[in-house]
Symmetry: C2
Amino acid sequence: MHQPANTTSELGQLDRYWRAANYLSVGQIYLLDNPLLRERLQPTHIKPRLLGHWGTTPGLNFIYAHLNRVIRARNLDMIYICGPGHGGPGMVANTYLEGTYSEIYPDITQDTDGLRKLFRQFSFPGGIPSHAAPETPGSIHEGGELGYALVHAYGAAFDNPDLVVACVIGDGEAETGPLAASWHSNKFLNPARDGAVLPILHLNGYKIANPTILARLPTDELDQLLSGYGHDPLFVEGSEPSEMHQKMAQTLDEAFDRIREIQISARNGGRRQRPRWPMIVLRSPKGWTGPKDVDGKKVEGFWRAHQVPVDGVRTNPTHLDILENWMRSYQPDTLFDESGRLVGELQALAPTGSHRMSANPHANGGTLKRKLELPDYRQHAIEVPSPGAGPEEATRVMGNYLRDVIELNAEARTFRLMGPDETSSNRLDAVFEATERVWMEDIEPYDVHLGRDGRVMEVLSEHLCQGWLEGYLLTGRHGLFNCYEAFVHIVDSMFNQHAKWLEVSRTLPWRQPIASLNYLLSSHVWRQDHNGFSHQDPGFVDLVANKDADIVRIYLPPDANSLLCVTDHCLRTYDRINVIVAGKQPAPQWLSMAEAEAHCAAGIGIWSWAGTEETDEPDVVMACAGDIPTLETLAAVSLLRDAFPDMKVRVVNVVDLMALQPREQHPHGLSDKEFDRLFTRNRPVIFAYHGYPYMIHRLTYNRANHDNIHVRGFREKGTTTTPFDMVVLNELDRFHLAIEAIDRVPGLVSKGASAKQAFHSRLTEHHRYVREHGEDMAEIQGWHWRSKETID
Amino acid sequence: MHQPANTTSELGQLDRYWRAANYLSVGQIYLLDNPLLRERLQPTHIKPRLLGHWGTTPGLNFIYAHLNRVIRARNLDMIYICGPGHGGPGMVANTYLEGTYSEIYPDITQDTDGLRKLFRQFSFPGGIPSHAAPETPGSIHEGGELGYALVHAYGAAFDNPDLVVACVIGDGEAETGPLAASWHSNKFLNPARDGAVLPILHLNGYKIANPTILARLPTDELDQLLSGYGHDPLFVEGSEPSEMHQKMAQTLDEAFDRIREIQISARNGGRRQRPRWPMIVLRSPKGWTGPKDVDGKKVEGFWRAHQVPVDGVRTNPTHLDILENWMRSYQPDTLFDESGRLVGELQALAPTGSHRMSANPHANGGTLKRKLELPDYRQHAIEVPSPGAGPEEATRVMGNYLRDVIELNAEARTFRLMGPDETSSNRLDAVFEATERVWMEDIEPYDVHLGRDGRVMEVLSEHLCQGWLEGYLLTGRHGLFNCYEAFVHIVDSMFNQHAKWLEVSRTLPWRQPIASLNYLLSSHVWRQDHNGFSHQDPGFVDLVANKDADIVRIYLPPDANSLLCVTDHCLRTYDRINVIVAGKQPAPQWLSMAEAEAHCAAGIGIWSWAGTEETDEPDVVMACAGDIPTLETLAAVSLLRDAFPDMKVRVVNVVDLMALQPREQHPHGLSDKEFDRLFTRNRPVIFAYHGYPYMIHRLTYNRANHDNIHVRGFREKGTTTTPFDMVVLNELDRFHLAIEAIDRVPGLVSKGASAKQAFHSRLTEHHRYVREHGEDMAEIQGWHWRSKETID
C-alpha cells in the first residue's frame, strides 16, 4: 500500500515552492514596492505600518506545499483549515501561487505588477485583513479568536465521505477549552459515511510572549495525551529543511495510507468500531527561515518571531539589511520568471482545478449546497378550535416536523440536529423515530437510540455543537442547534465570530450563500423553575441584537403552530442567524395554522379576539412577546375584563422581535405609521417580554409612544420554585400586569382600587399557598382562556 | 509512609454513614413528612413536584464519606468541589450529618422535626435550590452550568499550601471545553507554594440521555489520556459496596501518600520540576443503590437514574412501594436514634470543627480574606500640565501601579494577575519587575520572565484565567484579569454564573464578602485596527449591564490618571464585578491626578475647560464615554470652535457608565435633576460612546432629554486598517461628530453649510490618503488639543 519513496529531486522542487510561499509571505508583511527585489531595497519600498504575523507562517507554508504533493500523488479532495489564522500571509501566498487568487481577484495578476498589488493590499486600508478570513479563497475558518479549528474540520468532514480535511492546530490554540474538547470529535465520525480529518498539531513552541504547554511537554507525555484522544500521533521534528522535507513526505504518506485503509475497511462493511486515526505532530521553529537574531536577541525559534520579527525597517538601515538578506535568502530570481510569474516547473507542483485547496468547492460551501427538502409543516398543525385549546408542548410538535425533515433528507445526508444532551429534554424525541444519535464508541444492548449512522449529534459541549454545525453549514449543508436558553451563552463568542464571517461573506460576490445557522432555545428562563437560578438567563438575544441587522433574526413564537411556521421559515433562509425561543412545557394554544401563518408573516399583530377594544382607540395596549408573557398577558386581560367590562384593551403579540425596530434599522422593522397604528401614539402600553426588559426599550426608544411603553421581563429573580412563582418573583404575572394596567389608564385610579386590592390579595394567597403546598394553586394550574364571545 | 490498612469494622461504619447520606438525599427529593419512615409511606407524605437529581448523588456521598475518613486519619485541611452540582441533595445531606447545616440554619435541627424541614425545603418554594449553591455550606461552586469544577479547584489551591482541594468531575462535565482545558492547570501549580488538587473523575457512565465519552473509552485509552494530562490515575471500579469501600480507602491512602511525598520533596528544596500528581477514577453505577428497574426498564446503572428514578409516587401505589423499599433498604432505624439524630458512633466518623469540609473557612473565603495592601496610586500619576499632554499609554501606567500591588502583597501571597498571553501585549510589562509568569514545565535559558513562583498567570484560555481567578477570590484572595476586549466574550457565561453566585451570596448573612472580580479590557475595539474585524467587539458590557445593579460596575476612564483612580477603587471593593475598559496605545492625557480623582469620584462631569459654554445653557452637549470617543469629541469641539466661535458647546465625560441610569435602577445612577443639569432638558446631545450605541439609549431612555440624545458608537464596521480609519468607518470620528452637531443645533443649518462641506472634504481626503499611504494623515497623527485659553 505504501507509496514509492519521494525522490530527492521532487523534494528539492517542493522546497523551492515552499521558499516561494515564504517569500510572498514576507513580501506581504513588508513591501509596498520592488516586489521581486530587482533593485536594492529602499525605505520607500517599505510599508509605513508593519502588520502581520510571521511566526506561524513558514510552518503553514511547509504543510501546504506537502499537502499539495499528496493531493497530486493520490488525487485527493482536500481542504485546509488554518487554525493559526494569524498566518494570513501564508494562506494568501499559497492561493496566489495556485492561481486561484488571480481568478477570483483579477486585479491581482500573476506578474510583477500583480505581486506589487498583492503585497500592498495586505493589512492595508482598503485591502485585505491580516488573518485568514472570508476574503481568503479556500478558507472556511477565520483564525482570529482561536479554539475552533478542529471542530470546524469535523463539521466539514461529516457526510462528505470523499473529503479530507487537513486541520492545522497551533500549540497556542491547543490550550483553549473548545480545542481541547474538540479532540473527542473522533467519537462521532463514522469512517464509512464521513470524510477524514487529519489533525496536524503544529508545535512551534510559543504564543505571543510565552512558551506553549504542549510544546514543553515531555514527548512521552504528549504521545500519551494524543493517544488518549484516540489518535496515532506521527512525529515530524526538526529544523533542517531537507531532512524535514523527507520526514514530512514519508509521514504524510504513512498517514494517508492509514486513512485509506481505515476507510476501505469501514466501507467494505468490515470494521464498525471506532478506528485509531493518524495525526501529525509537526515540531518546527517559530519564524522558521526568518532572522535568527535581531539586535542581539533571539528571534527564530522564539516568541519574538510571533509578529513582525524585524521592525523599524524604514528608519534603521541595519534592519533594512536584515530584511533584504532574509528575503534574498529565498532566491526569488530562481522562483519567479522575468515577468514575475512563478516558474513553470513550480507551477506544476500545485494541484489543478478544484483539486487546489484554494479552489475546493467545499470551502465555498454555497456552491455545493443542495436545497433542503421540507415537509408541509401544515400537516403537523395542532387543531385549535378556539384560543386557549390544548395544552400542547410546542417543541414536541416541532419534533414531529423535524423528524420529517430528517427523513426527507436522509438519503441526501444534508441535515443534522445538534444538541448538548438535551434533544429529549427539549422534547424533540420524535426525531428518534427517523434516526439515532451518532456514536462511535461501544453500544450496549440496553442503549437507546444510539447508532453509527445517526443524524442527531449530542455531546455535553455547546462549543462542539455550535462548531460542528458551523463547519457543516460552511461546507454547504443544513442544520439546527437546540440548546437550553441559559447555556447558549457558552457560545456567545462563537456566535459573534460566525456573524462576523457572514457579514463579510455577504460582501464577496464569489462566496455563495450558505444555509442559516438556526438555534432553538428551549428549557427557557420561565420554565427552569426546577433547575433554579443557574439555569435562568434570557440574555443571549441581547448579544444577537448587536449584530448587523441583515444577519440576525429573533423569533418568539407564542404557541405550537407559530413555532412550526417560524421553524419552516428559518430552514429556508440563507446567510442568517435565526434564534427561536420556545417553551417545552404543556401550554395553551392560541392560533390555528391559518392564523399562525398570517401572524408570523406579519411578525407582529393585534389579537383582536383577545382584546376588548371596539372601533375607538383602546384604553391600554397589552403587548407580549414570548410564550409565557403571552399566557400571562391573556390571563391579565381576563382579569381586567371581569373587573372593568367597559375597559378597552388591545392585545398586541410580537413573534418577530426585530419588527419593533425602525424600518431604517432593520429590514423587518415597522414603519412609524405601522408601529403607531399598533401601539397608538399616546395610550399606555404594558409590555410583557420574555427576556431582560431593556431590549424592548432599545428597540423602541425613538417611537412616538415610547414614553408610555412600560416593560416587564426577567429581573434576575430566579430560584427553584413553581412555574407561576417564577413569573410572580419577576412581577411578570397576570396580577402584576393587571395592576399596572389599572395604574396606567387615566381615570381608573379610584375605580380600580378595589380590583387592585383583590389582585394583591390573590398574590398574597399565592405566596402562602406555594410555600405551604409546593405547587401552584389549582386556579392557576387549571386556568384556561375564555374568549369574550364564549362568555357573552 | 503507607497508612495501616483500614479495618473491616471501620469500613462497615463508613458504609453506614454513606447509607445515612443516601437516605437523606432520597428523603430530600421525595418527602414532605414521615422523614424516618416511622409509619408506612403514604401519598400525602410525598412532595407534589419531584425535583432533584439522584443519579450522581450516591457517588458523591461515597466520596464524601471516604474523604471524611482521610481527613480524620491525616488531620487534613480539605474542601470538596462538587462538579456534578446537580447532586445538591447529597451535599446538603453531608453538611447536615456533620452538624454544620444546623449551626448555620438553626431552624433545621438535628432531630425528626429538623429532618422533616430539611426534606421539605429542598427544591421547594421558599426553600433551597436543587443544586449545590451559595446556600450550601462548604461550597464555592455551583454545578449548574458544568465545566468549571477543576479550574475552580486550582484557583482555590494556589497560595494555600496546606489545603487539599478534592474535586469531583462528572463524566458529563468532562466533555465540556473548559473542563478539558482545565486538566493542564497542573502546569501552573507549584507544590512548594501551592496546595494540592485531587481530581476524582466520577464515571457513572451517563448524562441526561446519553452515555458519556470518557466512560466508554477503553480503559487503556482513558489511562493514556489522563497520563497525558500529567496525572497518575488510580482506578476504583465496581458496584459491590463492601469491595468498593476497601478499594476506595486503599486508593485514597495511596493518593494522599503520594501528595505528601510530592509536597515534602518540593518543600525541602528538592524537586523543582513538575510532579506527576495522583488522581482517582471512580467508576460506579449511576443511581447506585437506587431502584434497579422501574416498570421493567433499567434504571440503576443507566441514564434513567439521572433525575427522579421513580416518579408518579403519589398516584402509583407500585411506585410508592418501590420508593418505600428503596428508602428502607438503608435501614434508617439503625442510623438515626429515637429523637431522629444520627447515632453517636456515626457522628464520630465526621471530622470536627473547621476540619469538616462543610465548615472549612476556605469555602467561605470572605472569613479568611486579608486586606489587599495598596500603594499610593498618586505616586504613579502622570504629569498633565495642561489637557492634551502626553502621549502616554494608559495601561502601561497602570502596569507600574500593579507592579507595586504585587510587591506589597508578595509576602502575603494574596494577589494574582491573570491574562491569556496578553499581559505584555496589554502593556502591563512593569509587573515583571516584581514577579514572573508562573510556569512548572521546563524553563530554557533564553526564556523571559518565567519562574516557579510567578504571580502572573498566562495561558491561552480565557476560561482558565477566569476560572482560576474565581476560585482564588472565592477562597478569600484578590486579583485582576486582563483580556482583549473582544475575546472576553469567551467567558460570558462564566461571568453570568459568577454574578449569580454573588447575587445570592449577598443575601446570606453567614457568607462573608469576597474581593471583587476585576476585569481590565484592553486592546479594545478602536485599537484593533491591526488585527481586524475578528478582534473588534465591545459588547461584553451589554451582557454585564443585564445583571443586578448592586453587583456590576462599568468604567471607561478617558486617560491614565483616571485609569489609576478607577483601578485603585476597584481593588478596594467587595462582592462586585468591575469592568474597566482602557486603551493601551499612546494617547493624549486630559486630567491631572487631582482632577481625575474628582472626576472619577463623581463618575461623570462637565469638562468646562474643553467646552465653550459660558453661563447660559449650551447650544449643544458633546458627551463622551471611553478614551477614543473622548479624543474624537475633543477634536470635534476644536473643529466647531474654529468654525463657530460663538457656539456654546458643553463637554460631558462619563467614566462610570452606570451614572447614566436613574438612581432608582442603580446605586451610582444620577437623579433626574443631576442628569438634567448635565445634559439639559432640551438641547441636542451628541454622545460618542465606546461600544454599541444602544447601551446609551437603554440607560437613558426615561430621561427628560432622551429624544435629543444622538448616540454614535461601534456599528460593526471593522477591518484591518488605520486607527483613524476605524473611527471613520463607524462615523465616530471628529468630522462626523462635528457635522452632526451642526445638523442638530437649530439655526446652524444655513450658517453651517460651508463648515460641513469642509468637514466632508477632509473625510474624502482622509479616505484617499490612507488608501494611498497606508497610514493616517499627519494632521490626524499629529493632532493635539489646544484649550481655548491657550488659543486666546
